[in-house]
């Protein structure tokens, strides 16, 4: 069997329309929108979130059986790629991933919560406890009174979330959904992220009464699929951001002159720009390949390979593109005002989410090379 394996990549007219729509919606907001909120508590306007909900994006990936529009989670790829282009910092990714985890663990039990997420209540998964994604350590648990006790780190969009989906150490694994309205005032502690367009917080859970507990056989598989889909969605966002970083570079190379020449005529800048282009092309191919394969069902080997490759490629691409964007702007690149800094900051955040490139390549080696 070939190690290249599945190379399916399809994109139908409906998806093309969604991409087109998302691209122009995000382009209208522009990077300026993200810049407005760099130093504020929320990374976006309330009205922007309302627009996103109104467009139905919070219902992506919710199966028809659970009241969704029947657009598979693959449809989130064009949307998040488009948002990544303008570093739009909304909790959409958090909500979509919380939906995936719940649907895959027990859609029936979570039906009411799923409805409310689709209607715009923000949800996020509180999973990480260790210092990185390579560890699956979970100590949070239900005590004998059925209350949640634990400490979760770097929970994306926790401060804005209505629902926290908390992973628990319970039999083979369990989930508790917590209504943040029932938390103590200081339970959610925002962290200072390097990426100013995203928000995350640590969450201290002491004697919290869960709104819902999901146990059973479905949970471990759901958790595994959730981390793979998380990797894919971060890859989609990163691909958009890398394409935008390339645009920023190209604009400058075409306008800035030194030694009486446009700096874009220097091969020391030109050839790395081509490398970035080729890497962005690879990222796009990987994310849309993965989007083609992932569906509502349990993710299989091909899907796992696709999601891991997408992540391993896309955040490395963004790191490279952002890094060169700063360098190729000279002194301007060192300024707050230049957009290049936004991209390297985003890159450093994105590479950690759901595991870095080395982490995924390690798993890929097992998938591809073990005989």
């Amino acid at each position: 069997m070939s190690v290249i394996g599945n190379t399916a990549l399809r994109f139908d007219d409906e998806q093309a329309m969604l991409l087109d729509y998302a691209r122009s919606f995000c382009a209208d907001k522009g990077l300026a929108e993200a810049r407005l909120h760099l130093e504020s508590e929320q990374a976006h306007d309330v009205s922007l979130w309302q627009e996103i909900v109104a467009m139905g994006w919070t219902g992506i990936g919710l199966p028809e059986s659970a009241g969704g529009a029947g657009l598979g989670i693959g449809a989130a790829v064009p949307v998040l790629e488009s948002m990544g282009r303008v570093l739009m910092g909304t909790p959409l990714m958090s909500s979509l991933l919380a939906v995936q985890l719940l649907v895959r663990a027990d859609a029936t039990a979570a039906a009411a919560i799923l409805q409310s997420i689709a209607a715009g209540e923000v949800a996020t998964v509180a999973q990480l406890e260790a210092s990185g994604w390579a560890s699956s350590e979970v100590t949070a648990q239900l005590d004998e009174n059925g209350r949640v006790q634990g400490h979760k780190r770097m929970v994306m969009d926790a401060a804005q979330a209505r629902w926290l989906v908390v992973t628990l150490d319970h039999e083979q694994a369990a989930l508790a959904v917590i209504d943040t309205q029932s938390l103590a005032a200081d339970a959610i502690r925002p962290r200072q992220l390097i990426d100013l367009t995203h928000r995350a917080a640590d969450v201290l859970l002491e004697d919290v009464e869960p709104a819902l507990v999901i146990t059973g056989d479905g949970v471990p598989g759901a958790l595994r699929d959730y981390t793979l889909l998380g990797a894919l969605l971060v890859a989609a966002e990163s691909t958009g951001a890398a394409a935008a970083a390339l645009d920023t570079i190209i604009d400058y190379l075409k306008t800035r002159k030194q030694f009486d020449k446009l700096i874009g005529s220097y091969q020391a800048l030109k050839h790395p720009a081509v490398d970035i282009l080729n890497n962005v092309d690879s990222s796009r191919s990987f994310i849309y390949h993965a989007a083609t394969l992932v569906g509502d069902g349990v993710l299989g080997r091909d899907q796992e390979i696709a999601c891991r490759m997408a992540k391993a490629q896309a955040t490395e691409t963004l790191k490279f593109a952002g890094d060169r964007a700063v360098q190729f702007h000279g002194g301007m690149g060192f300024s707050w005002e230049c957009d290049a800094q936004l991209f390297i900051r985003r890159a450093q955040w994105a590479q950690q989410q759901f595991g870095d490139a080395q982490h995924h390549r390690k798993y890929l080696a097992d998938l591809l090379l073990n005989s």
């Binding site: 290249i4 399809r10 075409k254 081509v274 282009l277 080729n278 690879s282 090379l369």
Partner: protein, 400 residues
């Protein structure tokens, strides 16, 4: 399955059966992996016979017009025949400069006269073609080529030197770029394009030894060589435009090739297979975490190119830079291939330092030779650096 698909599937079975029955056995000498590696009479005779056989069976030039030796059918048939040839691991169709570049060019812009004179011989392998673009002093800077063609009655008189002429000593015809007007205001406007007979008096070839120690290209000298006036293709002064069109076929950015295998594709699966039994320390090389990581990177690179081929057919997913995938293909594939072969030797351990001819050389020195040969594609057809310039300027719109 609709009728057309069914017919194609049937055709696939037919080609497959034919290849099964006609695949040549081991000739007992080294078979070239690409047309740029053909360097002995023995190889030429063998490959000429094979190509003739493939054409005779109707599996070459299928989309070319019937009256010129083709089949006049949809290109989908040829593409299936090519896939099957690859799958069956048969030898290459080595007349690549004819099949892949000169042929499509003649098909697209040639006169009826040129088509009837040249196309059939290209397909049947009776007429081998070579390309006379590069000169000793002008390779990447092809626009400054100096080889002179002056009109004298009903002939052109050619003077100058071409170099790195693949198949130069076996070819019957050459696609030749020469300067007809040294005074032209723009250097490009002074160039013209010729379909030149190599047996003309005054043309001499001197084989050049390659980095592998083998032969495969020549230096080609023109000393008052006279070729008939009607060898000029297109109009005088159009040479640059036509040469650029030829390079589009060569780099795979433009369709029209007659088909057949131009080279044996060496892919990552070949490497992984080869490494299965190679030891490293106390375990296998495939157990070593660092080597595994390198391999995964290479696998991803090859897969990204394969996925790019899929994506390039979807306009909604290529709207940023529509030319990016087709124009980057040569650069990406050839550079990837070079590094992959380099890594293969790296992974072989001490025996990796052995070469073809040594009885301990892993896989008979296949990877060592393949690595040396990989530069034919990163230099020939426009170097990787020139490719990067082209992508920067024509895809990203950066200034010259």
């Amino acid at each position: 399955m609709n009728a057309a698909v069914k017919e194609l599937e049937e055709f696939r079975r037919e080609v497959s059966a034919w290849l099964e029955a006609n695949k040549p056995g081991d000739p007992g000498f080294l078979l070239p992996q690409s047309f740029m590696e053909v360097g002995t009479e023995q190889q030429v005779d063998f490959l000429r016979e094979w190509q003739h056989k493939v054409w005779n069976a109707g599996y070459l030039g299928m989309a070319w017009p019937k009256q010129y030796g083709g089949q006049g059918v949809d290109a989908a048939y040829q593409s299936i025949a090519d896939q099957e040839m690859r799958r069956h691991g048969v030898p290459i169709c080595f007349n690549v400069i004819g099949l892949g570049w000169a042929g499509p060019l003649i098909n697209d812009i040639g006169t009826d006269e040129e088509k009837s004179r040249y196309l059939k011989g290209i397909l049947s392998a009776e007429d081998i073609w070579c390309q006379g673009f590069s000169e000793p002093d002008h390779g990447s800077d092809l626009g400054n080529a100096r080889t002179r063609a002056s009109r004298d009655g009903d002939s052109w008189v050619i003077n100058g030197t071409k170099i790195w002429t693949t198949l130069g000593n076996y070819a019957k015809y050459m696609i030749l770029l020469a300067r007809t007007n040294p005074e032209a205001e723009r250097k490009y406007d002074g160039l013209s394009f010729f379909l030149a007979p190599m047996d003309a008096e005054g043309i001499e070839t001197r084989p050049i030894r390659k980095l592998t120690g083998e032969y495969g290209f020549t230096e080609t000298f023109f000393t008052d060589a006279r070729i008939p006036a009607d060898c000029l293709m297109g109009a005088e002064g159009q040479g640059w435009k036509i040469a650029m069109q030829t390079l589009q076929y060569e780099r795979g950015a433009e369709a029209g090739a007659a088909g057949g295998l131009a080279f044996v594709r060496i892919v990552i699966d070949d490497l992984v297979e080869q490494l299965r039994d190679v030891p490293r320390g106390d375990a296998g090389v495939l157990d070593d975490p660092v080597m595994r990581d390198e391999l995964v990177r290479l696998i991803m690179e090859e897969k990204a190119i394969a996925l790019g081929d899929r994506r390039s057919g979807i306009s909604a997913l290529t709207s940023d830079y529509p030319l990016s995938l087709p124009l980057s293909n040569k650069l990406r594939w050839t550079e990837y291939t070079r590094r992959m072969r380099q890594f293969a030797i790296n992974a072989q351990g001490a025996d990796g330092a052995l070469y073809v001819g040594d009885d301990r050389a892993p896989a008979g020195g296949f990877w060592q030779r393949a690595y040396l040969n990989s530069f034919s594609a990163t230099i020939g057809g426009g170097t990787s650096q020139i490719q990067a310039n082209i992508i920067a300027e024509h895809v990203l719109g950066l200034p010259k």
